[in-house]
């Protein structure tokens, strides 16, 4: 337990933050956590001119990488895709000499408008959330990172009215702490459909 804390890099992508009800409070709570670097990608690169060197250095400096975003058309907002296209270069993230990300951990913290039952094979979205995130899972595989199940909030449009935001934020903070202190069962986390809802089994308390 006295091992050095793991460092977490949270890459946050939300193009209309003034309308955000879930992601903004989630990001604000994230910024306050120790051992977490929280980056507002749209804030730092409003014209999409991503600084490749700076972003690669950030990846080198952290052990856990998080994409935090609202689900747009079953995928990330555009800037996260741009980030992947520019930063995950050949011989940096993949290729014979590209081992930088090997051994790190990757996960998504996202919100989705549809209900959990819609993201089922018999629901109107036809695929589960985890299935829809396969391109990211494969990105993690190719770069040698462990892909954890997503930390997801469904029915996000009504969460604020139903007072679900605070508990969601608290659970996220608990997850971040456990990740940083290495108290989260990585193997179990890899096998689940989503992280939240199973935090008691996943996290070893002190």
């Amino acid at each position: 337990m006295t091992l050095a804390a793991k460092k977490i890099l949270v890459l946050y992508a939300h193009p209309s933050q003034e309308r955000s009800e879930i992601n903004t409070p989630l990001f604000k709570a994230t910024q306050l956590q120790p051992n977490v670097t929280a980056v507002d990608l749209y804030g730092e690169y409003p014209t999409f001119r991503i600084n490749i060197d700076k972003e690669q250095q950030r990846l080198r400096d952290h052990d856990i990488v998080v994409f935090m975003f609202p689900l747009y058309w079953y995928s990330t907002p555009a800037i996260l895709k741009e980030w992947q296209d520019l930063v995950l270069e050949y011989n940096f993230a993949y290729g014979t000499k590209g081992k930088t990300l090997c051994g790190k951990t990757f996960l998504c913290a996202l919100s989705a408008g549809g209900s959990e039952s819609a993201y089922q094979h018999d629901g109107y979205n036809h695929f589960t959330l985890r299935e829809l995130l396969r391109p990211l899972e494969q990105m993690a595989n190719l770069t040698g990172m462990s892909f954890l199940a997503p930390f997801a909030l469904f029915c996000a449009r009504s969460a604020s009215e139903e007072n679900r935001v605070d508990t969601h934020v608290q659970k996220w903070v608990r997850t971040l702490r456990a990740l940083s202190e290495d108290r989260l069962d990585i193997e179990l986390a890899q096998s689940l459909e989503k992280l939240n809802g199973h935090l008691d089994q996943l996290i070893q308390d002190h």
Partner: protein, 642 residues
Amino acid sequence: MTAYFIQAFIYLCAAVIAVPIAKRLGLGSVLGYLMAGVVIGPIIGLVGAETNTLQHFAEFGVVMMLFLVGLELEPRMLWDMRNKLIGLGGLQVGLSTLVVMGIALSFDYGWTIALTVGMIFSLSSTAIVLQTFNEKNLTKTEGGKNAFSVLLFQDIAVIPMLAFIPLLALPELVEKAQSVASSAAEHHEELSLVAGLPGWAYGIVVLMAIASVVVGGHYLSRPLFRYVASSGLREIFTATALMLVIGIAALMSLVGLSPALGTFLAGVVLANSEFRHELESNIEPFKGLLLGLFFITVGAGINFDVLISNIGPVMAMTAGIILIKALVLLALAFIFKIRGSDRWLFALSLAQAGEFGFVLLSYTVQNHVISTELAQLLSLVVAISMFLTPGLFILFDKVILPRYEKTENTREPDDIDEKGTVIIAGVGRFGQIVNRLLVTNGVKTVVLDHEVQQIENLRKINTKSYYGDATQPDLLHTAGIEQAKMLVVAIDNPERAVALVEYIKHTHPHVIVMARAFDRRHLYRLRNAGADFMVSETFHSALNLGKHALIRLGVHPFKAEQQRATFYETETTHKDTLYEAWKQFTEDDKYLVHYRDMFIQLEETLSAAMKDERYRSYSKAERSWTPPPKENHTEFSKAESD
């Protein structure tokens, strides 16, 4: 002539010494002027007989103040406050008059005298209260706004009072006066347009005078100011402003109305005018000095002999008046639901008697309503109650406000979403675009320009803008630089732009300054002056044209955009180095190196940096969205392929 110089010097000297001391002690400038008056008048005896004449002259400061107050009040706002004006103001004047009258009756004065005394003491001091509100930034508070509507009602109420007082004349005093000097009566006749007119004709003349102020102010003032402003002579604009105020005051006196009311009306009419801020900044210094003079004469006019022989009654009456007025005001504040510290501000600020009390007193003596001896006593009460007003404000600041601050701070802040005002200096090609972007995003802007034509064009397309030289501190003050969050400097003159940035950063460091630069050298000078953000006016448009040139030459639009951005980023990464180099040059060889030589050297530094960067920046542009090498294509299943 010599005597005038000496007197003027004494008055100014007293003000110069006393006011800063009073201000530093937290007493406010009004008390400073009053004390200066007391010192040079009754205590040292340097001035004496002329104070009465001077006071009439200084009352013109009150007239100017009401003109400025009117300028701040758009007709719409005045209409919106009609309920408070009549309800709150009417009740205050009515109730205070009745209570004071009742007490006077109980002392066996006749009802006419009692009523007159009641009216005199129902009025408060517009001059002291508004000046203090301004100094203490209380004008916009709930208590301040309510106090203002009461003061406004009082100023209006003076007119019917002046009409009413002659009807209360005491027969025995009239007889006495007639036997003493029957011929002197003609001497009192003032120049008047309405003397001897029957009631209906008088009414028509008064209405015509008011109509001419409103209509003239609305339709004639603009062409006049435009004509004067286009001459570009600042002092002629000042002369025009003074002419306007004095002319209206003269017209109102001629028809027997209060000059203060007339100029107030003119101010309201001009409140929407583009010349509003320039007018304010021109009249303001005159108003300040005349009001100061007015307060000095109040101090100097205190008759110590009468005061000492009647110290008991005068003090008791003063305390009684302040107490009665404060209680009436508190009750009204309760009825009109003015809450918290504002209730106390409202009650304490208006508890004194006012300068119109002096006016009414001299008028009642002229009209034989009360005796000279009583008038002298009463004017002491008015003066001392005015003298005590700063004390009441101190009581409010030190005792009452701290009590409420704790409870009020815990309340939810309610106007947090109000964005600070942005002042845009210069609204030509550049400032105009900045203004449009800010306004469409709901930011409140105040736009200033010294080109009348420019302002006119903007007003045609419904952009609120004001005529005036933005580098004048007075104009910036009236435009609200103290409360502003940001200043955009987009004026045409590079030298004055730098001076303006320097001045603002020196006097109002809280204001964020965004500046337009003409070229690199100007940009560095603006930065050196303390601007928070600068941009060269041609830089981005030139880069944009360059990008489109690349596109027309066959470069793919997306690629051309990346090249433009890379160029811009290279420049940006070197901006600090170049600025430091510029500073070094100007500090070392301020007078030796010719500016052109210096900039040739600077350009060399930059191009060396660009060459150095070339490999890296091109490789960076090459690097983005690069596919993996062809030979590895099958080995790695990266999503993209070329």
